[in-house]
C-alpha cells in the first residue's frame, strides 16, 4: 500500500471507530482503553521494532504522565496545560538515562534495568502519600482549558483517537526515512551501521526517549478521561499486557500495535485480563506468534490479501495464454 493510501485508509478507519464508540458511554469507556493501550503499544513499538531495544518501564512512563497531570490539577489547576511538556520531559530524560547506562550492554541489561525502574516507580507511588496520595491515588482531576475551550469527554476521546492516528502515521513515516533505515540496520548489523557513520548508541537512546514520550501521553489520556489516578493501574502487569500487542498485531507496521490493542480490548471487554486463564492464553498466543507466525495478524492479513489477488489475476488469464 502506498503511504498516501495507507494514511487515508487508517484515517477513515479511525473516524469510523470514533463514530462507533460515540453511541454509548460503555463503548466510550472501552474506546478510552483502546486509545490508552494503543498509545502505550506504539510507545513500545518505536524502540522495539525499529531499534530492537526492549524497555519494560512503560508502566512508569504512563504513571509519570498520569500523575504529573493529577498533581498539576491538584496544586496548580491554572497551569494544567503545562503538565504535558513537564511530564514528557521527565519521561524522556529518565528513558534516555536508562538507555545511556546500558548503551554498551546487551538488550537483556536494558530490559532488567527498565523493569526495575518500573517496579521502583510503582513502589514510590504507593508509599509517597504526601505527593501521590498513596494507595488511594488522586481524584477530581480537572479538564484543561485549551485556548478558552473546555473539551468534554467525547471531545477528549476524539482527540485521543486523532493522537493515535497521528503517532502511528508518524512512526510509519519514520520507518522508511533515513533515520528509520539507520535504526533498523543497526539492529541487525551494528558493525555495518557504525562503519557507515551511524551513531548507534545515540540512535537507540533517541528511540527509547521518543517511545517513553508516547507512553506518557497514554497516561495523560487515562488521567484526563477518568478524572482520577490509582497506583495499581501502573503495575508491571501493564507492561506485559502492552508488550504483546505489537507482537500480536504484527511488527512490520505501527498499525500492528494499534490492532493488537483493539483486539485485546475487544476480547476482554475491559475486564481484568489476568483473572483466570486469559493471561495464560494470551502469553501462549504471543509465544506462538513469535515462533511460527512472526508477521503477526496484519502480516497474516497482508499475505492472505496477496494470495487472493494473485488468485484473481491467475483466474483472469485466458486459458490459451497458459
Amino acid at each position: 500500500m502506498s503511504a498516501a493510501r495507507e494514511r487515508a485508509t487508517t484515517l477513515a478507519l479511525s473516524v469510523g471507530f470514533l463514530l462507533y464508540i460515540e453511541s454509548s458511554a460503555y463503548l466510550q469507556d472501552l474506546g478510552t482503553l483502546v486509545i490508552v493501550y494503543a498509545l502505550l503499544a506504539l510507545g513500545m513499538y518505536l524502540p522495539l521494532a525499529l531499534c530492537g531495544s526492549l524497555s519494560l518501564a512503560y508502566n512508569a512512563y504512563a504513571a509519570i504522565g498520569a500523575y504529573v497531570v493529577a498533581i498539576f490539577s491538584r496544586s496548580a489547576p491554572d497551569l494544567l496545560m503545562l503538565a504535558v511538556p513537564v511530564a514528557i520531559l521527565i519521561s524522556m530524560v529518565t528513558a534516555a538515562l536508562l538507555g545511556f547506562v546500558t548503551r554498551r550492554l546487551s538488550g537483556f541489561h536494558l530490559a532488567v534495568a527498565t523493569m526495575m525502574f518500573g517496579i521502583a516507580v510503582h513502589t514510590w507511588l504507593l508509599n509517597t502519600d504526601a505527593v501521590t496520595g498513596g494507595a488511594t491515588g488522586i481524584g477530581d482531576i480537572q479538564t484543561p482549558v485549551v485556548f478558552g475551550w473546555t473539551p468534554d469527554r467525547s471531545s477528549l476521546i476524539g482527540l485521543g483517537v486523532m493522537l493515535v492516528w497521528l503517532i502511528a502515521t508518524a512512526i510509519a513515516g519514520l520507518r522508511g526515512s533515513l533515520v528509520g533505515i539507520a535504526m533498523r540496520a543497526q539492529r541487525e548489523s551494528e558493525l555495518a551501521a557504525a562503519a557507515s557513520g551511524v551513531p548507534t548508541a545515540a540512535l537507540r537512546i533517541l528511540a527509547l526517549a521518543a517511545g517513553s514520550a508516547i507512553a506518557t501521553l497514554a497516561g495523560m489520556v487515562l488521567a484526563l478521561v477518568n478524572h482520577f489516578v490509582l497506583p495499581d493501574s501502573f503495575t508491571i502487569k501493564l507492561v506485559f499486557l502492552v508488550l504483546f500487542m505489537p507482537v500480536l498485531g504484527g511488527l512490520a507496521t505501527p498499525w500492528g500495535a494499534v490492532l493488537g490493542a483493539l483486539v485485546v480490548v475487544a476480547f476482554t471487554f475491559g475486564f481484568d485480563f489476568f483473572q483466570g486463564p486469559g493471561g495464560l492464553t494470551f502469553g501462549l498466543l504471543t509465544l506462538g506468534v513469535l515462533l511460527v507466525a512472526p508477521a503477526g495478524l496484519l502480516g497474516g492479513l497482508a499475505a492472505l490479501g496477496l494470495r487472493l489477488r494473485r488468485g484473481f489475476a491467475a483466474a483472469r488469464v485466458p486459458k490459451g495464454a497458459r
Binding site: A113, L287, L291
Partner: protein
C-alpha cells in the same frame, strides 16, 4: 540477635547466588540472559509448598515434582524456544522477547495451578541446633550446606567434567566449538538441564523460608541477575560472592533506611554496576 540476622543474610545470599549460578550456566551455554529463570524457581517453590501443605503427602514426591517442573521448563526454553528462534532471527531481539513471554506464561501457569494465595512450604528437615548459645534451624544449615555443595560440584564439573570442559569452549565461541567437532547441541542441552535442576533446588530451599506466590519470580529474577553481574562470570564461584553482596546490601538498606527502600536501593545498585563495572564481568553478547 545480630548473629541471627547474619545467618539469615548468609542464607538469602546463598539463595541469590544459586539463582546467579543458574544465570551463569545458561549464559555460558546459550549466550542468553534467561530471566525466566526466576519463574522456574518460583514454580518449583510454589509447587513444593502447595504439595507439602497437605501433611499426608510424602515430601519426597513433592520434591521430585517440584524439581522436575523446573527442569522441564528449562528444557522447553532451550529446545522449544531458543533454538527454533535462533534459526530465524539474527539479532538477540527474538530471544529477549521470547524469554519475557515465557516468564509470563510460567507465572500465569503457576497462578492457575496453585492459586494466587502465597504459600509457605514445609521444612525439609525439622529441629534446631544450638551453636554457641544461638539456636539455628536445621533447615537453615541445610540450605547453606546444599548451596555450597552445588557450587563445589559445578566448579569441579566445569574444570574436570567431560561436558563441563566442553561447555567452556562452547561458551567462549560456539562457532569455533562447532567447527572443532564438539557436540554443541548436546553440551548446551546438558548445561540447560543442569540449570533447571539448580533452579528447582533453589525453589525447594526458598519455599520454607517465606511464603511464595506466583508473582515472586520477578524479584528472584532481578536479584539473581544482579548477583551475577556484581560477581561477574570469571569463575563459577563469582555469583555466590555477588549473591552475598546483594543480600548484605539489601539487609543493610532495610535496617538503616527502611524496608520500602529495597526497590530503590536495588535499582541504584544495578545502575551503578552497569555504568561502572560491566566490562570484564560480561564477555558474552555485550555490544562493542
Amino acid at each position: 540477635m545480630e548473629l541471627s540476622l547474619l545467618v539469615s543474610c548468609i542464607e538469602t545470599g546463598a539463595f541469590y547466588g544459586l539463582v546467579g549460578l543458574g544465570y551463569f550456566l545458561f549464559l555460558r551455554a546459550t549466550g542468553v540472559v534467561n530471566f525466566a529463570m526466576g519463574a522456574y524457581v518460583m514454580f518449583a517453590g510454589v509447587a513444593y509448598a502447595s504439595f507439602s501443605e497437605n501433611p499426608t503427602t510424602s515430601l519426597g514426591l513433592a520434591i521430585i515434582c517440584a524439581v522436575s517442573a523446573a527442569v522441564l521448563f528449562a528444557w522447553i526454553t532451550e529446545d522449544g524456544i531458543l533454538r527454533p528462534m535462533a534459526l530465524r532471527v539474527h539479532d538477540e531481539f527474538g530471544a529477549v522477547m521470547a524469554i519475557v513471554a515465557l516468564m509470563f506464561v510460567i507465572e500465569q501457569l503457576a497462578s492457575l495451578a496453585f492459586g494466587a494465595r502465597p504459600l509457605l512450604g514445609r521444612e525439609l528437615i525439622e529441629g534446631t541446633a544450638v551453636i554457641g548459645g544461638l539456636a539455628i534451624d536445621f533447615q537453615d544449615l541445610l540450605a547453606v550446606a546444599v548451596t555450597m555443595a552445588i557450587f563445589a560440584v559445578v566448579a569441579i564439573w566445569l574444570k574436570h567434567g567431560r561436558y563441563g570442559r566442553m561447555l567452556r569452549a562452547v561458551g567462549d565461541n560456539e562457532h569455533a566449538a562447532r567447527s572443532l567437532g564438539l557436540p554443541v547441541r548436546r553440551v548446551r542441552l546438558v548445561a540447560v538441564l543442569v540449570t533447571g535442576l539448580i533452579c528447582g533446588v533453589a525453589g525447594l530451599l526458598a519455599a520454607p523460608q517465606a511464603a511464595l506466590s506466583f508473582q515472586s519470580h520477578l524479584s528472584f529474577a532481578i536479584l539473581g541477575f544482579i548477583a551475577l553481574v556484581l560477581g561477574g562470570v570469571g569463575t563459577p564461584w563469582a555469583p555466590l560472592v555477588g549473591g552475598m553482596l546483594v543480600s548484605a546490601i539489601e539487609s543493610a538498606s532495610a535496617r538503616y533506611i527502611g524496608g520500602f527502600a529495597r526497590d530503590y536501593v536495588l535499582l541504584a545498585l544495578a545502575l551503578t554496576v552497569f555504568s561502572l563495572r560491566p566490562e570484564g564481568l560480561f564477555t558474552i553478547r555485550v555490544r562493542a
